[in-house]
């Protein structure tokens, strides 16, 4: 089987996930300069694993400081991981030499929150779109020019835009150019980091539709990072919920929002202001996200969790499979353990729960 691509290059499609991240860790060192004492590192991402399949959108949500943007940059190796591994289409991304990495980068692209500031203000749109092709040595001058027109057409902008400068476009138009630029090298994966957050509602819907259209047309995979849970649900097949550098829960979008397993996911869903429920007196989640250089012991969420109980403050829950998703919460490890005791044969799937001894 082959996947359709923009410039006619066909690629083999296999069943193996496009991206596999295993136990990714990123600790940022702080202090330790000439005069300042070394402080504990900021544990931005602290052991996260996930996969992204071909043509799939994986959503990534969490509060600011949860590590979602860092995770996106780790996948692209824009920053070096402290430990763990990322494979992209079978290649070990973290082991690649510079040259190989640059070659691979043409297949993975990034769309930023603020499109205008992600462009060089002195470059015309034609230069903006041509630059990635020059870096990766794609085509000759004539074919590159043709490609620019094709890309603008794909994102519904007139080819007269080529001679203009970034500041001459509105936010929505600039984000279309940002998408066009990400598509120049015919990537397999695009990391969308808050790509629609800065846009007005009426324009946001246009850009969401555009992202879905090009995905369908080109068979792209997205890692879709955003803080708006409803937007992420609309875009994503599956969603990962991050809290303080760890995965709290992962599952199919609709199931995750309608039947959240983790109390944090539940709190995020409840916190969405809704025009349907007028004057709802909900009890919001107390407190704020703790300092990631000194995360709480045990379950990192226990300091804010309304459902915490005995093991939560000293025992870190493992990620276990529940239904169609995965969750790391003692409520569910307990339940899995209970089931196992009552009814061992039918629940043998949970039999490998590493928390067994501790929670029983």
């Amino acid at each position: 089987m082959t996947a359709p691509t923009l410039n006619g290059v066909e690629r083999e499609v296999t069943n193996r996930p496009l991206v596999e991240a295993t136990d990714l860790v990123k600790h940022f060192e702080v202090g330790g300069g000439f005069l300042s004492a070394k402080r504990p590192p900021v544990r931005a991402v602290d052991g996260v694993s996930f996969t992204i399949n071909r043509g799939e959108t994986l959503g990534l949500v969490g509060e600011s400081g949860s590590g979602k943007s860092t995770l996106g940059r780790l996948v692209l190796r824009l920053i070096e991981a402290t430990s763990g591994s990322v494979t992209f289409d079978g290649q070990d991304v973290l082991a690649l030499k510079n040259k190989e990495l640059i070659a691979l980068r043409s297949r993975m692209q990034l769309i930023f929150q603020d499109p205008v500031s992600s462009f060089n203000p002195r470059m015309t749109i034609e230069q903006v779109l041509t630059e990635p092709m020059l870096v990766h040595g794609v085509g000759d001058a004539a074919s590159r020019k043709a490609r620019c027109r094709e890309l603008l057409d794909l994102v519904s902008l007139p080819s007269t835009a080529l001679a203009r400068y970034p500041h001459q476009f509105s936010g929505g138009q600039a984000q279309r150019i940002g998408i066009a630029r990400a598509l120049t090298t015919n990537p397999d994966l695009i990391v969308c980091d808050e790509a629609v957050s800065a846009l007005d509602v009426s324009v946001q819907a246009q850009v969401l539709n555009l992202l879905k259209d090009v995905q369908k047309e080109l068979g792209l995979s997205y890692l879709f990072i955003a803080h708006d849970l409803n937007v992420v649900r609309y875009m994503s097949d599956r969603i990962c919920v991050m809290y303080l550098g760890r995965l709290a829960e992962e599952g199919p979008s609709d199931i995750l929002l309608n039947e959240p397993l983790h109390p944090y996911t539940e709190a995020l869903v409840d916190a969405i202001p809704s025009s349907d429920t007028i004057g709802r007196a909900r009890e919001p989640l107390a407190g704020e996200i703790p300092n990631p250089s000194a995360p709480p012991s045990g379950c990192r969420f226990h300091t804010r969790c309304p459902k915490r109980f005995e093991p939560c403050d000293h025992l870190e829950p493992e990620l276990i499979t529940v239904g169609a998703g995965n969750v790391s919460c003692h409520l569910h490890t307990e339940q899995a353990a209970l089931h196992r005791h009552q009814d061992p044969p039918e629940h043998s799937l949970h039999g490998e729960d590493p928390q067994e001894g501790a929670t029983a």
Binding site: S64, S170, D200, V201, V203, A271, I278, G279, R282, L285
Partner: protein
């Protein structure tokens, strides 16, 4: 709470026009806005960027930079303050009308402790002594849910989280027990869980103090949770206003309708395109002479190129203002608006 001025509105904005100078030419950012706020009520002002919602709010206090009120009037508690003196305005700002901005980090001075900044307003507007002001500042910080206020009063803005800074801003706004609080996108920069906390706080404080709230936002969810009434802005004027529940559930103006369907909800089908509004808001230099939504409206007709008046309707027994000739009952019987609305 106080029942003062129950009948007369606290703030009346009548046919307000605001102009800005932009290097040689003049643009009109607000073109004929009417808006009323009564004691103790919450009025949400919603619109996209550039719709004139913030400019309208800032015009009330004449915080317009290189802009000016070029027409219409602003009446505060029965007094015309459209062209009030600086001295008069200073006594209103802070004392009667307080403002909370979107980004608390840029509204707080990084060089002074938060207690110092809260005290400044109290000493200036209420002529308190240093000691009194400090005690009141601690009391205010406790009121807005800052833990350990007696200690935190000496903290500097950078030592607080975004949510705490916004709480400090709200404490500052409430320092002189104002009768109206203008909050310009107060939760836009906050995480959704912290946003919920701050919205709850504002609702509780409003219940306790009876302060009226003018809430500027682009988020229809925030409107639904907070507002008694809503005023919808588009391209510099008001297109629709009425009770918040009614407007959200039965929008009458094509823009309000389109805006509400363009927001992804939890049950939006994932395999269908979002009903987006085509095109973009017209620039201030290229405003259409008639209805300003004409370039993006699915029902645009010849008559829409004439200037549109506000049509006052009764929808489900409640007053509703809609700036669209199609909303006029005279056209309703024969016209197809109802069926068109169904389609939408």
């Amino acid at each position: 709470m106080t029942s003062r001025h129950d009948s007369a509105p606290l703030l009346v904005i009548d046919d307000l026009h605001v102009e800005f100078d932009t290097g040689g030419s003049t643009v009109e950012a607000v073109s004929g806005v009417d808006l009323e706020i009564r004691a103790g009520e919450t009025v949400a002002v919603v619109g996209e960027s550039g719709s004139g919602k913030s400019v309208t709010a800032m015009a009330v206090l004449q915080l317009l930079g290189n802009g000016r009120i070029s027409g219409g009037s602003v009446t505060w508690d029965g007094t015309d303050i459209t062209h009030a003196s600086n001295k008069k305005l200073r006594s209103i700002r802070g004392n009667d009308i307080a403002v909370v901005f979107q980004d608390p980090m840029t509204s707080l001075d990084p060089l002074y402790s938060i207690g110092n900044q809260l005290s400044e307003a109290l000493r200036l507007h209420q002529r308190m002594s240093r000691k009194q002001a400090r005690e009141r500042a601690i009391e205010l910080l406790g009121m807005v849910g800052i833990p350990d206020p007696a200690h935190k009063v000496d903290a500097y803005p950078h030592q607080l989280s975004g949510g705490q800074r916004q709480r400090v801003m709200i404490a500052g706004a409430l320092a002189c027990t104002p009768r109206l609080m203008i909050a310009d996108e107060p939760t836009t920069a906050l995480d959704v869980t912290v946003e919920a906390q701050v919205l709850n706080l504002m609702r509780d404080l409003q219940r306790e103090t009876g302060v009226a709230l003018m809430l500027i936002t682009h988020d229809m969810g925030v409107v639904g949770e907070m507002a008694d009434r809503v005023v919808v802005f588009y391209a510099g004027y008001v297109v629709e206003s009425g009770l918040a529940d009614d407007v959200l559930n039965h929008p009458q103006h094509p823009y309000t309708q389109a805006l509400l369907t363009a927001i992804p909800r939890r049950d939006t089908p994932r395999d269908e395109p979002m009903p987006a509004i085509p095109g973009t808001v017209p620039g201030l230099h290229e405003m259409p002479a008639g209805c300003r939504f004409i370039t993006r409206c699915p029902y645009a007709a010849e008559r829409c190129s004439e200037p549109q008046e506000i049509v006052r309707l009764e929808v489900a027994g409640k007053q509703r203002d809609v700036r669209c000739w199609r909303a006029d009952p005279a056209h309703r019987t024969s016209a197809t608006i109802e069926s068109e609305l169904e389609v939408l």
